[in-house]
Each structure stands twice: as C-alpha cells, then as structure tokens.
C-alpha cells in the first residue's frame, strides 16, 4: 500500500480535511483517518502521529468537541463533532484554500 509521505500533504491541509469530514456528522479518530483515506481514493493516509496532535489542537481551539459513544465494534470510543466555531473555521479554511489553489492554477496555466 503506497503511503503518502507526510511532507506531501500541504501544511494546514490536515485540519481542513478533518473539519470537512466531520461536517456530515461526528466520527471517532480512526474513522476520521479511514474516511480521509477512502475519500482520497487511498492517496492520502493520515498518520496517527499527526492526527491526534491535530485533534488535540482543534479541541483546544474549540473547533471540535469530543464525547464518548459506542463504536461499531461495540467499544467505548470518543467521537468528535464540529462546533459552531468549527463550522466557521471550515468555511474560512475552504475559501482560503480555494483562493490559494486558484492562484496556483492561474500561474500553472499562464506562466
């Protein structure tokens, strides 16, 4: 399985992706990683070493909250859910991301 080296994911992109996959509902940590992996057609793999620090940072910033629930395997596990601040952050990050990619695209097309 080809693993995407961490450096290939643009900085800040991980937060954006986590926020995005949480938009449709609350997920636990493993599911977040899985969802990103699957949705990216297995191009992006989130390492645990980046995921959990990122989640802690988002908890600190108040973009997500965590609550305990029961997993599909019937285990007690922590589910992350977007907060109002998180949704705002997601919008901000998406528009910011769009702006940057548009700019890069523009250069790629014309230069």
């Amino acid at each position: 399985m080809p693993l995407m080296p961490k450096s290939d994911m643009p900085p800040g992109a991980l937060t954006l992706l986590i926020l995005r996959v949480l938009q449709s509902g609350s997920l636990h940590g493993y599911a977040i990683a899985q969802r990103i992996h699957v949705l990216s057609s297995e191009v992006l793999a989130v390492e645990e070493g980046s995921l959990y620090p990122a989640l802690q940072k988002m908890l600190l910033k108040g973009w997500v909250t965590a609550e305990w629930g029961i997993s599909e395997t019937n285990r007690k596990v922590r589910f992350y859910r977007l907060t109002v601040a998180g949704r705002k952050q997601l919008q901000a990050e998406i528009s910011n991301y769009d702006r940057v990619t548009d700019a890069i695209q523009a250069i790629l097309r014309t230069a």
Binding site: G29, E47, E48, P53, G62, K76, V77
Partner: protein, 837 residues
C-alpha cells in the same frame, strides 16, 4: 477566553484527559491491526506530542526535573547541606537588608489613606529643623488651599505619671491628629476636634497601648479615670490601638491635646510666641489632584507672606519641604551613601556565596561525570541535561532563599527585642519581600548554577587559568569581608574599653527644663544659684557645675561647624561654667580655665588643638569668626560622640542667655545612686511647677555601650559568615582541582612519590592565586575602609593587627579547607583510579 479556560480545564483534569487519549489510541491501534495496518509509532512519544497541543508539557517536565533533583540532592546530604547553609547565609543577609529597607522605606503606614499624606519640614539651604513654631503652623493651616487638612505634634519633656519613678514620654497633638490618621482605639475614644480643641475644655489624655499594658495591665476601666501628669489632674478618655503608627519614630506613652500644653507646662508660651523654644512637627493631607510639589510651592508662597509678619523669624531662602508621608522614612539624599555602602557589603557577601557555590558545583560535576555520560549515551540531549542541572541549582537556591527568609524573620525578632521597636512595626514578610526572595533565588541560581551546568552538560572542564582567577577573586572578596568585619569589631571594642576621658560614675545630671516654663534669664540665674546652694548642702556632694548640653542624658547630640583659619571644622560645642572641668574630671593640660561669663574665650580639646595647629602653640590662636581666642587646652573627652576617635570638643563660658537651658551636673564623693529622689524633691520645692529630669550619668553610659555591644555582636556574626564562606569556597575549589587530577596523583603514587610531595604539587597551583587574592583583598579593604570612615567613626586608617589577622585567618582556613580533599586524594587506590579511566 474560551481557549484559556479549556487550557486551564486540561491542567486541572490532565490525568483524565491523558487516560482518555490513551484509550482512544488503544482503540485506534486495535482497529488498524484488524485492517492489517500496523504503522502506529512509539505510543509514548505520540501521546506526548498530542499532549503538547495544550501547552502544559513544561510543567510535567519541570516536575519531573524537580523530582529528580530532589532525589539527587537527597542522595548527597553533605553537599546539599553545605550548599543550603552557604545560600541561607548569603541570601539571608540580602533578605534581611531588604526586609529592613521594606519596613523603613517601602511599607505604607497603617493609617487612613497613606498616599495623600505629606510630612512637612522647615528648611533652608543651611538649616534643617524638625520643629516649626506653633503660630507658623496655624498660619499655614489657615491659609493653605492645596492641603485639605494639616495636623501637628509637639514634643515635650518626659512627665511624672502619678508618683512613678519612671517618667513617661508625652506628645501634644492637634485635636485632628487621630481623626486625620483614622486611628482606632483599644478602649474609649481618641482626642477629637469637636470636644478637645479649646484651652478651656477639661484636660484629657489618650494613652498608648504599650503604657496601658505596662502600667495599667490593660484594664479597660482606666477610661474615665483621673491620672496625674506632673501633678496636674487629667482624665483618660481612651487608649490608642496597638497597631497605631507613630509618624516620627518613637511612640510617646501619652497623647495630650495641644491646646492644653500651657496647662501642663506652666508658664509656657510655645502656643503664642513664635520665638519661644519649642515647635511642632507638621503633616498635611493633599487635596484631590494635588502633588507634594504643588503643596511645597504653595507653602513657599505662604512662608514669604509670613516673613512680612515676622522678618526675624524666617531664614534666608526658607521653604517648607513636603515629602510623601505615608512611609516610615523617606530616603533623603544624605541617606544614599550609607545605604549604598550597606548594599555593597551585602551584595559582596551574596556574590562570594554564589562564587563559592559555583566552585562546589563544578567540583561535583566531576564526580557526576559518569552519570551524565551514561545519560547522554542513552540519548538525553545536552539541552535536557543542562535543564536538569539548572533545575537542581534552582531547587537549592529556593531552599536556601526560604531558609534565609526564616533566618531573617528570626533575626528581626531578635533585633526588635534588642532595640526598642514600636508595636505597629511588623516584620512579617509581605508580597514585596516574597517577590524579592524568589527573585534573588533565581539570580543566585543563575550566578552559581548556570556556568557549571553548561560546562558539565558539554562535558568540558574549565582551564587552569580560569580556575586560578576564580580562587584569587574568591580570596580577595572573602579577604575584604573578613578584614572589614575585623576592623569594625576592633573599632567598637576599642571604644567600649577606651577611657571616655571624663569621670561619669559619680555624677548626676539634672535638667530642670527652665526654658519650657517661660523662665527669663534673670529668673533662671536666681533659680540656678539657689539650687546650686541647696545641692552643695547635700551630704556627699563635692561640686556642682553647669553645662548647656545634657551629657549622657536624653538630650540632642549636635555638632557645629566653625571657621578655623578659613576652613570649616566640625566640632562638638558646649557652654559651661568654670566648675565644669573639675566636676567632670577633665584635666586642663595647657592655659587657663574659663572665667565666669567670659566672652571671646574658648577651651579646646587636646586632639582638636593637635589637629588644627600641629606643632604650634594653640594658646592665643583664633577660633571661629566671633574673634574667639583659645585660652586653654583640655584633655580629650568624648562627651558628645563616644564613637569618635578624635575628640573635637570646644567649650565656651555660659552666657546669661544660656542659663535658661542649662543642665546641672552634681558630683558626689561616694556612690550617687541614692541621691536622685532627694534632688528631685529639692528641685520641686524650689518651684513646684517644674518637673526636672534627673539621671545618673553612668546609666546613660551603659545605655550607650549596650548599643555598641550589640553592634559588635552583629558585626562579629557578619565576620563569621565571611569566614564560613571563605572556607566552603576554598574547599570546593581544591576538591575540584584534586578530583580533576586524581589520575595524575594515582600515577605519581604508583611510581613511588612521597605523599607530602604529591600534596605540595596539588596545592602549589593555589599558592599564587591565594597570595595575589590576599593582596588585592587587603588593598580593596583599605579603599573600602576609607569610605567607611566617613560614615562610622573610630575605624583606624591602618590597623596592621586587623589586616595581618584577617589575612592570617584566611590563609589558615584556606590551608585547612585544602587539606580535606588533598587527604582524600592521597588515599586514592592507584589501580582503581587508573582502571576507572
């Protein structure tokens, strides 16, 4: 705000958060394993990284370091104890100095709104006086607009309470004195403007808490009772609270309304006559938006107004100095030098302590080389090792600082028992002291711990030259401390055992206080002649003399500047009658005695004559600008300044105008102890309104020497601290040097070198640094003692015994301290030493 709140919540519940994170990762790992993936890294590390997001990991690391440091220090109790003792003393001295400064200068007095309080003082470029005439005070009070209120206190001679032997001190205060200060009472009420501000109100008194306890055993029924002060009936209306601060040093025993001053001091014109002797101390309350400078400006204008009314009263360029009054003392420029001196000495001790400990830490680094090496080998970063080592220093410094604080507190308690301290003064450490303690602990840790920690973490040891400079510097600093304290002790001891140059054992002093009772010079002359006759009739009295200055009593100590041959010279003046020299047993070594009421004649002390006219005939020399001529030379008598090596006394014949403020000195053939009550009753029968102050000169002398003895004690303690510091410092450095050369010593011994020879090789490297340090230290002391001489009298210029003694003691300590590690080096087993390498 939300983020901070979440952060704090994490800190509070970090255990739960960590457990949850752990569970979560455990789940992740299981799930990953189920899907055939196992790239979960180092769990511990991952957990730490995740926790770092909250920003509290430094606390974990710090706690970890502290735990480790405690364990390390616990395991080497000898080192730890030495270090703590050195720091306790080195830091303790600083904390002591700061605590005293805090109480004296920084702490606000426990009065209402201390910030708006100003103390007012009458000054001119030439003259500073604590006292302002009462009528002037009234003028300022009635005309000021910047000050919302003014109040004042007037000192008075001690009074007889009922028929006690021990007189009580009194203060007359304006009726608003207590209300302006917001004073609380322990019983009854305070003097207040509504009831006590008129001469015709019934006489009232407020007792101090101390007197209430001492004399009336804290009995609340004293309120409303009539007591007698100088035989004048007065009703006690209240007792002031224990914590009431006096605004000017010593607390009086009794407060009386100032309007009643003429009732207690019959014949006094102090309240009406601007030229009468006494005066008041003034304070003011600044109105809103007013600064001390603005008040000073306005009072200057008022002073100029006052000059028009009383041209002779107001001096040239007179002004009223206005200082913030909410503190016990305002740092005056004249205090700076003494303060800087003390600060420098204290800092010197602190730096010596840190330097010594630095040496010890270095020495210890060698013995820990092995442990540190292993830690680095298993992957500890140098940064981490450095942090760990510095935490150890910080821990030591904090322990030292807080035990220094405990020592300070104990020391201040002892000091306040030795020297009378007002009840309201609290030495309990406040936030300023605590901040200082922590600050100085961190400073100490940086001073003594930073360099060794860096060196050890880098596993690189210092060069010989630097080490030798360090030894030299330490010796020099210790040398200064040691010789200086030796000089101080010597100076004070010399004073204690030196002959003051006058006989005081059989002399009684009497101050009838004629001037405060409105005596004219003629009336005073008649009174004194009558009294003299009666006293001479008493059994055992051999002579009676007059002296304007109250010798060894509770009078003012003042010097005067006179002009001799165009140079200003400070002298201690007195105005006496011809019997004075016989009564005080001061020999006339040249010339003649003064004649009664003679003008333009002066008798000088031997050392003043020698100082001013070396090798010349002092008789007939001009003295001062009043056309005075020296007619005689008296033996040295350190009457005014027992602590002055040079007795610079000058005596003039008392003039009629001096009689009102005269003191009588009565010399007896035998022991004078039984006479004072008899004398008191004679003085009182002559004029019942007088209440004389009668004292034995020898008890005044004892009071004085008591202070000196306490000073010797304090300075000796300082000297002991210096000795201890020097010993520890040298011990540390020699131990360091020896441990660095263990291998060499082992080889030498293995090759058959004589132990004595090895020892001399090890110690020889310290020979020059010690010698140079001692020389520099001696030179430094000479410089410092020059400065000290300006502040403290009696420190000799060159005291060979003091210097030689100090250096000798230091070298002896150095040798003794060197012996310990050297002996250990000799006992080194060559095989093991070489093997360890």
């Amino acid at each position: 705000m939300g983020e901070l709140f979440r952060r704090l919540r994490y800190l509070l519940f970090h255990r739960r958060f960590n457990r949850e994170l752990e569970d979560e990762m455990e789940f992740h790992r299981e799930m990953a394993a189920r899907h055939g993936r196992r790239n979960f890294g180092n769990t511990l590390r991952l957990r730490e990284q995740s926790r770092e997001a909250w920003g509290w990991t430094w606390i974990d690391r710090l706690l970890q370091d502290l735990r480790y440091a405690t364990r390390i220090l616990w395991r080497s109790p000898g080192f730890s104890l030495t270090a703590v003792v050195v720091l306790t003393l080195g830091i303790g001295v600083c904390v002591l100095a700061f605590s005293m400064l805090n109480v004296i200068v920084f702490k606000l007095l426990p009065v209402r709104d201390p910030a708006s309080l100003v103390r007012l003082q009458r000054r001119s470029p030439e003259i500073i006086t604590p006292d302002t005439p009462y009528p002037s005070f009234l003028f300022y009070r009635d005309h000021t607009k910047t000050l919302s209120a003014m109040f004042a206190a007037m000192g008075a001679p001690a009074m007889e309470l009922d028929s006690d032997l021990q007189p009580v001190s009194v203060n007359f205060v304006t009726a608003n004195y207590f209300t302006e200060l917001g004073a609380n009472t322990a019983a009854g009420r305070v003097i207040d403007p509504l009831r006590d501000d008129a001469a015709e109100t019934p006489p009232t008194a407020v007792l101090s808490y101390g007197l209430w306890q001492r004399r009336f055993h804290g009995n609340a029924s004293i309120v409303g009772r009539v007591i007698h002060l100088n035989k004048k009936a007065v009703t006690v209306v209240g007792v002031i609270a224990k914590a009431f601060p006096s605004l000017h040093g010593q607390d009086p025993d009794v407060f009386l309304p100032i309007k009643q001053q003429p009732y207690f001091v019959e014949g006094s014109t102090a309240l009406t006559d601007v030229f009468s002797g006494g005066g008041v101390r003034m304070w003011g309350r600044m109105g809103p938006g007013v600064t001390a400078k603005m008040a000073e400006q306005e009072l200057l204008e008022l002073t100029n107004e006052l000059r028009k009314q009383y041209p002779k009263l107001i001096w040239d360029k007179e002004y009223i100095r206005s200082d913030p009054g909410g503190h016990q003392t305002v740092m005056q420029p004249e205090m700076y030098r003494a303060f800087a001196m003390i600060a420098a000495l204290v800092l010197l001790i602190f730096i010596v302590a840190c330097a010594n400990l630095g040496g010890l830490m270095m020495a210890r680094g060698i013995t820990r080389e092995h442990e540190i090496g292993i830690r680095i080998a298993i992957g500890a970063s140098r940064k981490r090792i450095f942090r760990q080592l510095f935490t150890e220093s910080l821990l030591l410094a904090l322990i030292g600082a807080f035990s220094g604080l405990a020592l300070t507190y104990t020391g201040l308690r002892i000091l306040s028992a030795l020297f009378p301290t007002p009840d309201w003064v609290s030495f309990a450490p406040d936030w300023r002291v605590l901040l200082f303690v922590v600050g100085i602990a961190v400073t100490a840790a940086i001073l003594f711990g930073l360099a060794p920690a860096l060196q050890i973490a880098r596993q690189r040891q210092r060069g010989t030259i630097i080490r030798q400079i360090l030894v030299g510097a330490q010796i020099a600093a210790s040398c200064i401390l040691l010789i200086l304290s030796g000089l101080l002790v010597h100076a004070v001891l010399h004073l204690l055992h030196s002959d003051p140059g006058f006989g005081y054992e059989q002399v009684i002093g009497i101050n009838p206080g004629l001037d405060s009772h409105g005596y004219t010079p003629e009336a005073a002359r008649a009174y004194v002649n009558e009294l003299k006759g009666r006293l001479l009739g008493l059994p055992g009295v051999t002579s009676v003399a007059m002296s304007k200055i109250s010798l060894l009593g509770n009078g003012y100590t003042s010097y005067m500047t006179v002009d001799i041959g165009g140079h200003p010279v400070n002298i201690y003046p007195n105005w006496v009658d011809p019997e004075f020299f016989k009564t005080m047993e001061i020999p006339l070594v040249r010339g003649r005695n003064l004649l009664p009421r003679e003008t333009h004649a002066v008798i000088v002390s031997e050392s003043l004559a020698r100082k001013q006219w070396p090798g010349l005939e002092p008789l007939g020399q001009k003295f001062g600008d009043q056309k005075d001529l020296v007619v005689g030379v008296a033996g040295n008598a350190r009457i005014k300044a027992l602590n002055d090596g040079d007795a610079v006394e000058a005596y003039w014949a008392a003039q009629p105008s001096d009689i009102t403020s005269t003191t009588l000195l009565v010399k007896t053939a035998g022991a004078p102890d039984g006479l004072p009550p008899m004398i008191k009753s004679i003085v009182e029968t002559l004029d019942p309104k007088l209440f004389p102050y009668v004292w034995l000169l020898k008890s005044g002398f004892r009071d004085y020497t008591q202070i000196l003895e306490n000073t010797v004690l304090a300075v000796s303690l300082l000297g002991m601290v210096a000795v201890l510091m020097a010993g520890v410092g040298i011990l540390g450095l020699v131990a360091y040097a020896v441990s660095q050369r263990t291998k060499e010593i082992a080889i030498r011994i293995a090759l058959g070198a004589k132990p004595l020879h090895v020892l001399s090789v090890v110690l020889r490297q310290f020979l020059w640094p010690v010698l140079i340090g001692a020389i520099v230290g001696a030179a430094g002391t000479a410089a410092v003692s020059q400065l000290l001489r300006k502040i403290l009298y009696g420190i000799s210029n060159l005291d060979p015994a003091g210097y030689a003694g100090g250096i000798g003691v230091l070298i002896a300590i150095a040798a003794a301290a060197a012996l310990l590690p050297a002996r250990r080096a000799l006992r080194v087993d060559p095989v093991r030493a070489l093997h360890e390498e």
